[in-house]
Symmetry: C2
Subunit: 352 residues, 2 copies
């Protein structure tokens, strides 16, 4: 292997743990050389970095994270210490390799957010998956075929298990996970109610994704809107938000409802006491089940999810919009967009 020494690669590091919503001062852009790969390692040139609300959890000083301590089945994502690179998923091309599995020119994505927010990542082959760049453009491998799409797929198919005719409510329905989840539920023959903030997202959910009812929680009383949209209660609540929205949904469960949680965006930037759930007794009175899961739970079955999502994508049965922010230098601005932006679908940073 010839030397591919790169002397000036940009990398975002955590300067200080955010208190609440991250601000530019929490991050630091440094430039340094990329180290040579050792046996089994490659250097990946990142093309896109995934900007997910859950990244915020990695930035906490101590554990309060569904991602932590999750190395049982090969996946692992740990907290970021001050001065360390910001964890994030990425997709890119192998430009130097001491791995049989990933020769130079292979397109790869990382399994557990170790690619990080940087231009080049030196990673072990066990941290990577090959992506079929001919099957879908690179951003799709980070979105619908990556962590967020697989979260929607496994959360809906394996955890929520929708039956035709079920009323399925999805919060964060215009987000990277929610937008895929609502479309899968529609394909399963469900009546789908999407909750999102703002008229743009709601119109998009109705007109582009075909949800039966889109509720703009910023414009209406959510409880009243849910009672109207789900007169017989919800059979499935697919939760990306947590907190007060979860509480309001608990008050509107159908008998034997399944609550599936893969995120709680409302909680990630909370600095005070946690929101306390008043309506938990509905779990009892409705004989409901509440299951939290994440993408790592289904890593061993990734190929099943990727195959199904690829087929739907190629047949035009599912849409996977992306919002791409250009330039690694814009990471701090991009990092607040999941919490305040008006974009729909998957958010990512274009590095190259």
């Amino acid at each position: 292997m010839e030397s591919t020494m790169i002397n000036a690669a940009r990398q975002w590091r955590l300067k200080s743990h955010p208190h609440g919503l991250p601000v530019a001062e929490n991050f630091e852009l440094v430039t340094e050389a990329v180290r040579e790969p050792r046996d089994g390692e490659v250097v990946m040139r990142l093309h896109y970095v995934s900007i997910d609300p859950g990244l915020r959890l990695f930035m906490n000083p101590t554990s309060h994270s569904e991602w932590e301590d999750r190395n049982e089945e090969g996946g692992r994502a740990v907290l970021v210490g001050e001065g360390e690179p910001i964890k994030a998923w990425g997709v890119g091309e192998v430009i130097a390799s001491r791995s049989q599995r990933f020769p130079i020119g292979t397109f790869v994505r990382d399994i557990a957010a170790t690619a990080s927010v940087q231009e080049y990542a030196c990673l072990h082959e066990d941290e990577l998956l090959a992506v079929q760049a001919d099957v879908a453009p690179l951003p799709a491998h980070l979105g619908i075929l990556g962590m967020t799409g697989l979260t929607a797929y496994f959360g809906m198919i394996k955890v929520a298990k929708p039956r035709a005719g079920d009323t399925v409510v999805v919060s964060g329905a215009a987000g990277a996970v929610g937008s895929i989840a609502v479309q899968i539920a529609k394909m399963m023959g469900c009546r789908v109610v999407g909750i999102a903030g703002g008229p743009l997202k709601c119109t998009w959910l109705r007109d582009e994704l075909g949800v039966d009812v889109a509720i703009d929680y910023k414009a209406r009383n959510l409880g009243a809107a849910l009672r109207e949209a789900c007169p017989d209660g919800m059979d499935i609540y697919f939760d990306n938000v947590g907190g007060e929205m979860l509480d309001t949904c608990l008050a509107n469960l159908a008998q034997r409802a399944r609550i599936v949680s893969c995120g709680a965006i409302a909680e990630y930037n909370r600095t005070g006491a946690p929101y306390a759930l008043a309506n938990w007794f509905a779990i009892m009175s409705k004989l409901a089940t509440w299951t939290a899961f994440n993408y790592f739970d289904y890593l061993p079955q990734s190929s099943e999810g990727i195959a199904a999502l690829t087929e739907w994508l190629q047949q035009g049965l599912i849409k996977a919009p992306e919002r791409i922010v250009e330039g690694i230098e814009n990471f701090p601005a991009a990092m607040v967009m999941p919490f305040s932006g008006d974009h729909v679908g998957k958010l990512m940073l274009k590095v190259v």
Copy 2:
């Protein structure tokens, strides 16, 4: 069939819906004739009536009950209106019959609390199960082999699914359900922590039922006691209490914990706002599952549970203590004992 007309049978009725803990004024003891059984019906002379905390839920004016609307699989227990007989499970003998399945002399128990708090019940055969009075004394058919024992059995075996080595925490551990649940968990090779109120119950849990740690929540800070008793967190939390106790347990879950709820005694007499769960995010951070279930869910599999519990009972592997209150006239006093009493195991009223 000769006439077995009984002209003066005592029956407890709901005079007014309780506000908080039931008081004597909420109930009324009336005397009236028992009607003749019609085709498919029998008259059952009640020997014992089961006094369960969950009966309190039947006394609410409106639905807030895990028992309500539960007639899918043959079980049904509905709210009691003012002037109606108090719902309760009972065991007794058939003294008049127009049922092929249950001739005179058969011992029976009811499926869905329609026996009620009375001396005689005229019930349809579909509301009844035969009990083997030669296998265990009548009270056992109401306790360990009845609703509460089956709740413990199915909740532990089919819902919680303990694995050897699991740390299992049971609240209300000295109660009718909890005392069976802790013993099943011990038989499955688990480390068992029982939570109960008062030194008598805790000593009994340790010395008689063999739990590894008994926590007197009235004497100690529960959170501190749980951290000490479960340094690696709890794999299973079997909840009979709900409210603040559930909240404290949520703060001490192990990764992938299973929470199983079959009751929430702390909530049954609540008159103000519901207790709000502050630690619900632990469901997310620990990738936990919370399942509420009740006895009706497993009615079709009752015989499996009865067979297993009978065998354990006959082999002396499980204890099923009963506290028997004599005399149907003492129902109002008995009805508050589940919420304040110092008894262990199954509480029932001896009618005959």
